[in-house]
């Protein structure tokens, strides 16, 4: 039987009277890649931020390895569940400083920065370069490396390639998939790019209006959508890409 990485049980989030998420239920299995798709404001990023407790659910429960997120020691949870954001925030200092940043927060040091840099597809020549001087794609890969240095079992990816040009997008995507295959990392990946979701995901969750409308294997969900909402969304997206 497949082991469970994360589980959502009737999760809701309400902020100042606005319902951002309603009754989200679903399971993400270990080592699998789940893509979250849907229109802007559907609640995808909100759902992501519940997994490492950057937000707290107003209703229901979120489990990481069958332990409710609020029962985890916060620091331990956030080491286990890493997150990469749409915009790669670089801290002052070199690429090496940035790669080691997360570990230093926990009083540890980075043993082999060269190997980590190569793991994220960057040349070791960049190690001592100021991080602020990198290109957008390079920054995103350093941000990925910084999170990977913590050896997370689950990786939350919030539109990590949406701000990148097509080449950088392809490179970052390849790097993430390579890392997934090597370290058996579970990926929970928010993306606006449906082709990317097709390429990377084992399973896709379609969200709209704060709810998961439809979920299923990537191949069948795109070929045979069941709900009118998903059908409409896919055809709209298809129109836009024409």
């Amino acid at each position: 039987m497949e082991q469970i990485a994360m589980r959502f049980d009737n999760v809701g989030v309400t902020v100042a009277g606005n319902r951002l998420l309603t009754d989200v239920t679903g399971t993400v299995h270990k080592g699998r890649t789940v893509a979250l798709i849907g229109p802007s404001g559907a609640g995808k990023s909100t759902l992501l931020s519940l997994c490492n407790l950057l937000r707290t659910p107003s209703a229901g429960s979120v489990y990481v390895e069958e332990k409710e997120v609020r029962e985890w020691p916060v620091q331990a949870l956030r080491q286990k569940v890493g997150m990469v954001f749409q915009t790669a925030t670089m801290f002052p200092g070199t690429v090496e400083d940035n790669l080691a940043y997360g570990l230093r927060l926990h009083g540890q040091s980075l043993q082999n920065p060269e190997a980590l840099l190569e793991n994220v597809g960057l040349s070791t020549d960049l190690l001592h370069k100021p991080a602020a001087e990198l290109s957008g794609g390079q920054k995103q890969r350093v941000a990925l490396g910084r999170t990977l240095a913590m050896r997370p079992d689950i990786l939350l990816l919030d539109e990590v390639t949406s701000a990148l040009d097509i080449h950088a997008k392809h490179d970052v995507e390849t790097t993430i998939l390579d890392v997934r295959d090597r370290f058996k990392t579970t990926l929970f990946w928010v993306t606006h790019d449906l082709d990317q979701a097709r390429r990377v995901a084992d399973e896709v969750w379609f969200m709209a209006g704060g709810s998961v409308i439809e979920q299923g294997p990537a191949t069948s969900l795109f070929e045979h959508p069941n709900t009118p909402e998903l059908k409409a969304f896919l055809s709209e997206e298809e129109e836009e890409t024409k």
């Binding site: 950057l54 609020r70 949870l77 997150m83 954001f85 925030t89 997360g102 927060l105």
Partner: protein
């Protein structure tokens, strides 16, 4: 100075109002309100101080100091209403400053335990600390709003709230202290401090007046540092939830 001669100095306010009307600055109403408030507040405090000085009662001295600290804290709070419960760190900072500075001044015998010294010096130290507190809180809110992505990134990497906000707290503390440091650097060159000026006008020996002024300046410097540090480090936990999530002041 008689009340009559004092009333002639109101001509300065009239000149300012005429200029405001002529240049359409629209501050005439504020000038009137400010002047009336200053007259009422200072006259009132003048009579209260006269009573307190004459009574020689410790309780009245403490009550006056408490009033000064309370009003200063309430005023500084208006700079950071969006931070829940911020009044407590402000009070703690101002009280710590008051206790530390007065303890040293009284402890080494620079001033005697008399209302005229305790209350006036408290007013100067707490007043300057209040300005430092306001600047710090203002800057802290801006730092958190502008640095939200950076702070969230550190939290997402498993950093503690203190690790996440430390660089921003440092900037805010600096912002609180710098005006006091700068004005101390130029004191005597750009402006003669009010207390010294007052003593000299009242006939005191200028050298003696300078000594008192230096004492006050050192207290103000220390006060601004103590206030900023105490408020900075007691306020930041209020910017995070119990699950170490950032609350961005709106």
């Amino acid at each position: 100075m008689t009340f009559l001669s004092l009333s002639f100095t109101l001509l300065f306010v009239v000149v300012a109002m005429v200029l405001s009307l002529w240049l359409k600055l629209g501050v005439e109403r504020d000038l009137v309100i400010a002047s009336v408030r200053a007259v009422i507040q200072l006259l009132l405090i003048g009579y209260i101080l006269k009573f307190v000085f004459a009574s020689h009662t410790v309780l009245f001295i403490l009550a006056m100091v408490a009033l000064i600290v309370g009003v200063a804290a309430w005023n500084a709070r208006s700079r950071a209403k969006t931070i829940p419960g911020v009044i407590w760190p402000i009070l703690a900072g101002l009280v710590a400053t008051e206790i530390a500075t007065q303890a040293v001044l009284l402890g080494i015998g620079v001033i005697p335990f008399q209302a005229r010294y305790i209350i006036t010096i408290s007013g100067m130290i707490v007043g300057n600390s209040m300005v430092a507190a306001g600047l710090l809180l203002n800057r802290l809110q801006r730092e958190v709003t502008n640095g939200e992505a950076e702070i969230t990134m550190v939290l997402a990497l498993g950093g503690t709230p203190k690790q996440a906000i430390y660089p921003h707290i440092k900037q805010a503390i600096r912002a609180g202290m710098i005006p006091t440091i700068d004005s101390t650097k130029t004191t005597g060159l750009v402006q003669l401090p009010g207390m010294m000026t007052g003593q000299i006008i009242a006939g005191a020996d200028p050298v003696q007046a300078v000594r008192y002024q230096l004492m006050i300046l050192f207290c103000i410097l220390a006060g601004s540092a103590i206030t900023s540090i105490v408020i900075g480090f007691l306020t930041y936990p209020r910017l995070f939830t119990s699950y170490q999530q950032l609350i961005v002041p709106k």
